[in-house]
């Protein structure tokens, strides 16, 4: 059996006891097992779970066609695609929870067994953060404008960004 993370033979077989995602089996070579186990040593059952939950999501539901369409979906704020999230197991910005909501919902339920927060709330409460989200989008657009050498557009965007930034 090959290591799940590289091409070497798998010599370590680790079972992560994750629930409700269920036990997750990992087959790794010595090097990858070392990295994996020492990474988890500090804390974090997380990284293993997201892999398991994402894997299940693919198994259970979508046809290849649906999945391909889904993968192309892109967050308008940070520019991450669902494909990139699926590969990395990490989201690109807070807005992803909104724009990928239909896809993330079953994933979140399979990880946590629930979908509604209970507990601490920031001092400002659940106030909307549209202005902050705008900042993320504008900074990205500015960077892209610079890359395309559209300097006039970039400088307009920079002014917009500064205006919002001074509000905070």
């Amino acid at each position: 059996m090959k290591c799940q993370k590289c091409e070497k033979p798998a010599t370590f077989h680790i079972t992560e006891l994750t629930d409700p995602a269920g036990p997750l089996e990992l087959h790794l070579c010595e090097d990858c097992a070392k990295t994996y186990l020492t990474q988890g040593a500090v804390e974090e059952p997380g990284p293993a779970m997201i892999g398991g939950a994402l894997g299940k999501q693919v198994q259970v539901g979508q046809t290849a066609e649906e999945l391909a369409r889904l993968d192309q979906k892109v967050c308008p704020v940070c520019g991450i695609s669902y494909y990139e999230f699926r590969q990395a197991g990490r989201l690109g910005c807070p807005h992803d929870y909104i724009c990928f909501e239909p896809e993330l919902e079953p994933l979140i339920v399979s990880i946590h067994g629930q979908s509604k927060h209970s507990g601490k709330v920031p001092r400002r409460g659940a106030a909307r953060t549209d202005r902050q989200t705008d900042l993320i989008r504008l900074r990205r657009e500015m960077k892209e404008a610079v890359e395309r050498e559209e300097y006039e557009k970039a400088s307009q965007l920079r002014d917009q960004i500064r205006n919002i930034e001074t509000e905070y």
Binding site: T38, E44, C93, Y97
Partner: protein
């Protein structure tokens, strides 16, 4: 702050005090938080990462409590120093091996640290020696409030605190208790105990695992789920099983003392003997042997060594610590020799070269 100064100390979580500290090593809390006006780390360039670091340091830096902390620029730290902070659990491996601007603010007493630009913009963690869940929560909650007053966290009405990985969304809270369970391992009950824990949504991890077998018989119990349960429910969930585990471990120790006294005493004495006399020894073997000695001391089979001394040896014999204490880089073979000498110096001290044991 000089890391060399830290090297000589033990660090809060191995201090070896606090309730139930013969079995419970430490209580740790971690909160994942993100600033609303920046992308998550994965979509951050150098500029964003610098801006996050600056925003946090500028806004929170003015607070008196924060100004007492030592801020370490992890991006500029040599690898051995990063490894040193990992061994002390002040930073995670992810932060150590990450890229771009990142750092950590460290409490001089090492009871808490705040990592910047780890998987999330902020990872606040609190470590208390022994079983001390309520105080640890009160402390991390206060630090979180202090930061929250000065920044805008990414928060969603229904999903709670938003995190880079959906496994942390909601409270962003991980409650962990690290236990030393050598008797449950010796009596081969550990697997069964852990299987029962998984049924109630708790995760179990070994410490310093270098293979499939966790080293030193240290296990960390933590909540798996972060969404849909309040902080106090999560604390209660972890807190409820700890007394059970302590009880199991104590029963296993009693059994070993009662029915296996000779074998137990033999194992402990041999471990002690090797640690006192070896000429070269690996980190993994050291941890296993120290674990037996630690249990031996707790059961009164070895006198003249105190638990804090053994705890200190656990951390000081780690690769980066050895090198910091020695004041220079050492390769694996040299480290094994240095480790053996270090153990001899510290174990023989006070009992004149011989292990005085109670019969």
């Amino acid at each position: 702050m000089k890391l060399e100064e830290l090297a000589g100390q033990c660090g809060e979580w191995l201090r070896g005090t606090g309730p139930e500290s013969d079995i419970v090593i430490s209580s740790r809390f971690r909160l994942a938080r993100n600033l609303a006006q920046f992308p998550f780390i994965r979509r951050c360039g150098e500029q964003d990462r610098s801006a996050i670091e600056r925003t946090i340091c500028d806004r929170v830096g003015a607070v008196e409590e924060w100004s007492k902390l030592a801020y370490v620029d992890v991006a500029r730290l040599p690898p051995v120093d990063r490894q040193f902070l990992v061994e002390r659990q002040l930073i995670s491996r992810e932060l150590s091996e990450g890229e771009g601007p990142r750092g950590v603010a460290i409490d001089p007493q090492e009871k808490f640290s705040v990592m910047i630009n780890e998987e999330d913009h902020l990872r606040i963690q609190v470590m208390h020696s022994g079983l001390d869940l309520q105080n640890a929560w009160d402390q991390i909650n206060r630090i979180d409030d202090m930061i929250d007053e000065r920044v805008t966290y990414a928060f969603h009405e229904r999903l709670g605190y938003l995190t880079a990985c959906p496994t942390n969304v909601g409270t962003g809270l991980r409650v962990s208790v690290m236990l030393h369970l050598p008797a449950l391992v010796m009596t081969q009950q550990i697997e069964r105990v852990f299987r029962s824990l998984q049924k109630i949504n708790l995760a179990v991890r070994g410490l310093y695992g270098e293979g499939s077998q966790p080293r030193g018989d240290f296990y960390q119990i933590s909540n798996q789920i972060t969404l849909g349960r309040s902080e106090s429910q999560l604390i209660e969930q972890v807190g409820k099983v700890v007394p059970m585990l302590i009880e199991y471990e104590r029963r296993a120790r009693e059994f070993l003392v009662r029915d296996n006294q000779k074998d137990l005493h033999d194992k402990v004495s041999r471990a002690y003997g090797i640690l006192c006399t070896a000429q070269t020894i690996s980190s993994a073997e050291t941890m296993d042997l120290l674990s037996s000695v630690r249990m031996g001391v707790n059961l009164g089979l070895i006198e003249d060594i105190e638990i804090p001394t053994i705890n200190r040896l656990f951390i000081h014999t780690q690769p980066a610590h050895l090198q910091k204490l020695r004041g220079g880089e050492l390769d694996t073979a040299d480290r094994n020799i240095e480790r053996a000498q270090y153990l001899q110096r510290h174990l023989r001290k006070g009992n004149r070269g011989g292990a005085q044991q109670k019969n």
